[in-house]
């Protein structure tokens, strides 16, 4: 979907507001801020989901790197 920069700024502003709000208040906040613009709300929800997924992946990669450091994988002989 093509996004205009002004819309992009709006998405970012709502995204930050939603993240700062308690989880149970987020849906209400997004609905209010998006004023029945369903595409805008979907965009914000999708980015909030991506934020959570990115944090999960980051945590799992960091954990794996820590395990690798304490138990380095055996290298195959050349």
């Amino acid at each position: 979907m093509e996004q205009r920069p002004e819309r992009f700024l709006r998405i970012e502003a709502i995204f930050h507001e939603a993240l700062a709000a308690p989880e149970e208040m987020r849906a209400k906040l997004v609905e209010t801020r998006c004023q029945q613009d369903n595409a805008l709300a979907a965009e914000v929800y999708s980015l909030l989901e991506a934020c959570a997924a990115e944090e999960r992946l980051t945590a799992s990669r960091r954990w794996a790197a820590k395990v690798d450091q304490t138990h380095p994988p055996e290298r195959k002989p050349e």
């Binding site: 995204f15 980015l47 997924a53 990115e54 980051t58």
Partner: protein, 196 residues
């Protein structure tokens, strides 16, 4: 004052003002130096004693400053330029790794500890590059932030100082950009999770 021949200050100003030929003229001045930095980046696996890209760029900047080729207030332009060149070098390396891939592929070395799901030399780095090209039409400052923080390896504090914003702003912006980039690079994973 009329700038002297080869005045990097003048070229940095022209580049900042959108003259693409200035980038090409600046390139030879930093490329050999930054190639060494990138090579150290790529070799750093299991070597905690690595060369810090930002430290080497600072050294280069001070050298140019002592030769009066740059001015003090060029610091931001110089670092953002160096970060862009680092991105180009690391993307070239990733392309070469993907073309010349042999057996096991690339080593798992994260581009940055704050972005551990993108490895140097990986296909994800090429995806990240494409996503950043797309992001530049929406918000070029965000691309600059990513280049400084992840390609040049500046800390959040250094990035904040160069971008003349607070560290809290950098952290906040990074959270949003990482989410946007993650969704761009892993669209299926995000769509699947959203549908759960």
């Amino acid at each position: 004052m009329e700038p002297a021949d080869g005045d990097i200050t003048l070229l940095l100003v022209r580049w900042k003002d959108g003259d693409p030929s200035a980038f090409d003229k600046l390139m030879p001045l930093v490329y050999p130096h930054l190639r060494q930095v990138a090579a150290a980046y790529i070799r750093r696996e299991r070597n905690p004693d690595v060369l810090e890209a930002t430290a080497l760029v600072h050294e280069l900047y001070l050298r140019l400053l002592s030769q009066r080729k740059v001015a003090w207030d060029d610091r931001r332009h110089f670092y953002t330029f160096a970060a862009k060149v680092m991105r180009m070098i690391l993307i070239d390396y990733a392309r070469a790794s993907q073309t010349l891939i042999r057996g096991g592929g690339y080593e798992k070395i994260p581009l940055n500890d704050d972005l551990p799901w993108v490895d140097v030399g990986s296909p994800e780095l090429l995806d990240l590059n494409r996503a950043l090209d797309e992001l530049s039409s929406l918000d070029p400052d965000k691309v600059q932030l990513i280049e400084l923080r992840y390609f040049l390896g500046c800390t959040a504090e250094e990035t904040a100082s160069l971008m003349k914003v607070s560290k809290a702003t950098v952290d906040r912006e990074l959270k949003f950009i990482k989410s946007w980039l993650y969704r761009r690079i892993h669209p299926l994973a995000t769509a699947k999770a959203a549908g759960e």
